[in-house]
Symmetry: D2
């Protein structure tokens, strides 16, 4: 317990205000969520927490949860606090008490759910990557633009934009503190499939996941880099690799992240790692790497940006820290400094705890939900938009084209 | 988004199980909380989150919130999700829908609220330090022991025990991995009152807070060290200091952490910093320091323990990391290693996210609430008990006695 | 002062051994060095220090220093301890008291000096990069092979191989501790020319330096990576960039590193930064970056290698540390550990100080000189050979070819 | 190889200046050193290196080395470059070619050698701690003051003052950048005697070493703290401990640091660890700890100083880094920054390598020798003086008195 302002009720006689039932009168915003695995759990926590920490103009209500298995969905709904359950996403969209559809399923289903929801007049929050193909992403972005004209909004869930340290980096770039940006060095390093006996879960199957490390985690560093710099990747030269080409089949078609595979094996048809170099629209050089084979790195989303006036560096494994080098200082006292991004003046941080009391992974989603709800309530377009998601999809596509074409420098299509 | 197992509901036709309202049938456990400032906010988040992540045998219900100001309490209750409000803690205790009283007020009121609640048959979770004096703490511990005989339980909220990294350190010590412990080096460093214009908030007034850095943050490192080592401090030699002896009066008697002080000043009658050296019951040497004047350190609860077989080191500013040195390894490959305490096998961590997706400050309270609820449901004594809180109080008292007696080595009374 | 074994002479009466002049009887090895700037200074320190810390079979004698300016050379010789001076490298080679020619000049002169020296029967230690072109490097490697047949040896001065931490990493790879290597991630980051007013020193002129960051520092990470992994780069896809294309002319044609440029400007015809991705002969993926525009990074030679069984990570800015992750440990206690590479059993370290008393930049050269002298004395081929230098040169050439050919994946010629 | 200014001699025809033997005309300063173990080796490297990197007004000549064993001394002299050997320190002092006596023996002999040398008109550089008792230290300080009146100078070898990062911290304190100093937190952590089978070397025997961790490494942090802050410790409250009270006898009476002990054991009559808290003359609180039982810490001389305006933090295990927090910056961008103390404007650093090319342990001695020689040549009093050494001795004595008197707060005698 640190600085604060508790008072002791009842410690001195006070006139007795009539105790009553607490309750608010803000408009209700009904949420319907599809999928209740990893992403569903973290989105649920976000919906539950956002109203308690941010002053939202509307009151999100966790109306209904949708999953394929009635039993599993009911169990998840009870634990995570959803008021009702559905087993067909079309039914979820159709519910009158659902204003927002929150899509937490694998990428192969994003397009059809999102487009249907938008057409039904429901706001959409969709997990990333936006889709498994550029064509799907384009259709989604088209649908989102059409819906926006009717006041219905869509957002893609690149949650890392809402890490306070990353939002702070973006703020500093926007303020010109970094000067001209020369280098963007981004890595997303994990190691959860180093073991060749790890089974063929859905994330390792192109049909469901679209790609491997590239779309799952590479998409994050691409979006994060474009978000911080305010620039977009224009050219990429890429390599991809699948180190382990066959794996035991997972026990169920859905795939279990920690399950033990059986004797039968299947082909891994996605990348284990994807690397690319390239250029940004503002002239910066890019060096990117996404891999699930960086032994010892668990969730190392790293980005370093070197500008003519300053640099920033970040590693999600220490998510409350932003390293900042101010090149204007005398050389004798300059150096990368560890800014704990927990000050009241930092993005999002003021809503939480005193300085030095850090946040965790799930907070990025709480911030996302908060921004989404505020945008909807004010009629503004939430960000990142489906167009932003499409932009990332086009980089992913360019990476795959380059990798298939001897790493040739390949333009990222912008339209 | 990393490894997981989302499925796409509705992506293939499934038989339509009747959607229904989710709901559980676990017994209800009504919570009444006193105080809604910093500690109240974080406890609220804990009560809200614990059931969603841990399989609790009972269902905590946020029944009523108690604060002195009817208006402020109502506003807080609405934002934080409490169903009702009270303005007198006696009324809160008396409520039939309240089974647990959660005390989040300054230390001067802990004894009377806790004892009354226990006597009324309500379980009690009480913020730390347990009390402002040993006498109060003894009365509370007596009351807790008496209540326990009737199946009513009490716990003191030393939340840092529930940092996964700290729980892991304790586990390793208990398993004998550190060997014989020689050194415990603990610091709790903050800097929020370095500015002499920072006002005289309640934490700087002996009447309300009992002591300064000593009881507020020193208590945490004392408990943490005793918890990890399984030993207790037996002797201390101490110094305390108040660097800034007068400060502007805070705007209200309750004190506002960030308020601007006025022209009038008052005396600071608590310590700004407290240092002590001493001995543990198992023979280890202790070096402790608690200060609010460590410029640049925000919430640096640090502890390093050197044993004959291994060492551990921790800093709350990087709370997801435990540094471990295994002295049994060949010298050529030994060194402190950074264990990200986010693995499924780590304390508490498995309930949350995949490896490398860290937790934040508030999770320590969620874990605390979870352990408390599970203990109550199973009829077991929760830990840390009021006796543990008393033990810390006795160390605080010994520190103050030593500091007042030329730092003479002073025995910590054990009974 | 830490652990040691000083005795106090004279503290007790001892029989009086006749004091005499110290002196050894090892064969003399005369060193002649060309160039006395940065590299010359550090090589001098190496020649001076190696015999005091390593048990060399021969006694290096700093016979003669060669530089263009008689006055400057004489001054440098006096300060750095060279017995004589020359102003023409041909004269240096011709000296009877010179057995080794140590070449510390820019790359454009390496070939002619080295080849002449080898033909004259003098052993050669040559700074890196071996040459400015593959053709020159091939001629040098041919000359070295021919000389070796006559017992005359050549070595290229990739000093970073002799960082104890890097040598330790190579040892662990050779022992199989990393398993199958999947990723090599190497960066050499500096920032000394971020200021556009920094003058056009010789390192920024193709005619003298061959290339920019690529050959100067990129060569180091290429060699270091090939050395540690025992593999060689087979394919590269590259980008290079010159951010600042004109700079003030340096005051003298030789260029002064810290000089202030004048009003006249010249073209920068070398790269400011070079990036490439690629593949190693053993199947690992490579991600490399060399730049002089990484604001805030002073000499960050970084390499991380991820294998199926373990990973290592290194940053020269903390050169006494090697980070090691052992993937065979239980996940609950695994993590990157900071091995201080100062133990007696570590490469080179035992010759110096007790554990924890670190080494500096110049020690890498002392180790280099020691290994070189020991190889010569034993008739063995020193390593890295000119063939190793040529191998790096071929990678540099492939990088430039790829960068000029739309980053197309380009084979590194192996012969 | 990074930025520099090599030229290629002979690459263009130049007029042929007559090559000749290099040589200087500076006055000679003959050095005689007593002891050739750890300290002797590092002092030798310092004498050898200083003239090559610093512009010294005189030319140190390594005239004679003195040790008890004629054979061992001769061998050491040859390896380390001493021109002659002696086996009685009285003979060394008497040599005409010796102007400086450099004392590298255990503490029990410092007083008699130093006093004799000073009386014989020889300058003295004496290892720390100055002596084994305050009485001896007083006699030495008296002798030094008397000698100074005759132009003969003495210096105690607290080498860590010459770590560039520590000298930089002292400079910043002197400039007022830290404001009012509130906390000095210093630790010197080692682990070389954790193993109970480590033998009873001379450093573990009171008769020779005076004390244990206290005088050996505690002395260093005391001096370093007093040096940086410009204040002195006025009061201490202390604890000391000997964890392992009997150890195998070392094979020889001199003791071998790494030797294996035999079956016979002897008593350890010095402290294994010493802790104290206290106060500085300027009002700062002190928390100090010196131990050889901090498993995993090799040479962790750590100091953190918190002032009202800024803080600095240092750990010798990363000796090229000084961490600096500037409290005047906006909270949103403040944080401890890692200053690589390798810039031309940093203390000592400019004489060595470009930024980012770090120094090692031995450089602190080279800087020490450089400052000593420059002081002698200019007739100035070198620093730290024997009075500074005495001041540290008095702190050590106060620590022992306090530890023997129930840790009572004990005044450090100032005269």
């Amino acid at each position: 317990m640190a600085q604060t302002d508790e008072a002791t009720p009842g410690s001195t006689p006070t006139p007795g205000p009539a105790p009553g039932t607490a309750g608010g009168e803000r408009p209700r915003l009904g949420i319907g969520m599809v999928g209740y695995a990893f992403m569903g759990r973290v989105h649920s926590q976000a919906w539950r927490s956002a109203p308690a920490f941010f002053d939202l103009p509307v009151r999100p209500v966790m109306a209904a949860l949708c999953g394929r298995s009635a039993e599993g969905t009911a169990r998840a709904a009870e634990q995570m606090g959803w008021a009702a359950v559905e087993t067909d996403w079309r039914e979820l969209i159709a519910r009158e008490d659902v204003d927002v559809v929150d899509i937490c399923t694998p990428g192969d289903s994003h397009a059809r759910i999102a487009i249907a929801a938008l057409e039904a007049g429901k706001h959409v929050l969709c997990e990333k990557p936006l889709a498994n193909t550029v064509a799907e992403a384009e259709a989604m972005a088209d649908a989102a633009r059409a819906a926006a004209a009717r006041g219905v909004h869509a957002m893609v869930a690149f949650n890392y934009r809402r890490v306070p340290a990353i939002a702070l980096a973006a703020r500093w770039v926007a303020e010109g503190r970094l000067g001209e940006i020369r280098h963007v060095r981004a890595q997303y390093l994990q190691d959860w499939i180093v073991d060749p006996d790890f089974p063929l879960v859905w994330r390792l199957r192109r049909e469901l996941a679209g790609s491997g490390a590239l779309g799952d985690i590479g998409a994050h560093i691409i979006d994060t880099a474009q978000f911080i710099t305010g620039q977009h990747l224009t050219q990429v030269s890429a390599l991809t690799e699948t180190f382990i080409t066959r794996r035991p089949l997972a026990e169920t078609s859905a795939g279990l992240s920690a399950g033990v595979g059986g004797a039968e094996t299947g082909e891994v048809d996605v990348d284990d790692a994807a690397l690319f170099i390239g250029r940004f629209s503002g002239g910066a050089l890019a060096s990117f790497e996404a891999t699930r084979f960086a032994t010892g790195r668990k969730n190392a989303l790293r980005i370093e940006i070197n500008g003519s006036a300053a640099s920033v560096a970040f590693d999600f494994e220490a998510m409350n820290e932003l390293w900042f080098h101010d090149h204007a200082l005398p050389a004798e006292e300059a150096g990368f400094r560890r800014v704990l991004v927990t000050e009241p003046g930092h993005p999002y941080a003021g809503a939480w705890w005193p300085p030095g009391h850090g946040l965790g992974y799930e907070h990025t989603f709480t911030h996302e939900v908060k921004d989404f709800v505020q945008a909807i309530a004010s009629g503004a377009a939430p960000s990142p938009s489906f167009d932003d998601g499409l932009r990332v999809q086009r980089v992913l596509a360019a990476v795959e084209r380059s990798a298939a074409d001897q790493s040739r420098l390949t333009a990222v299509r912008q339209t």
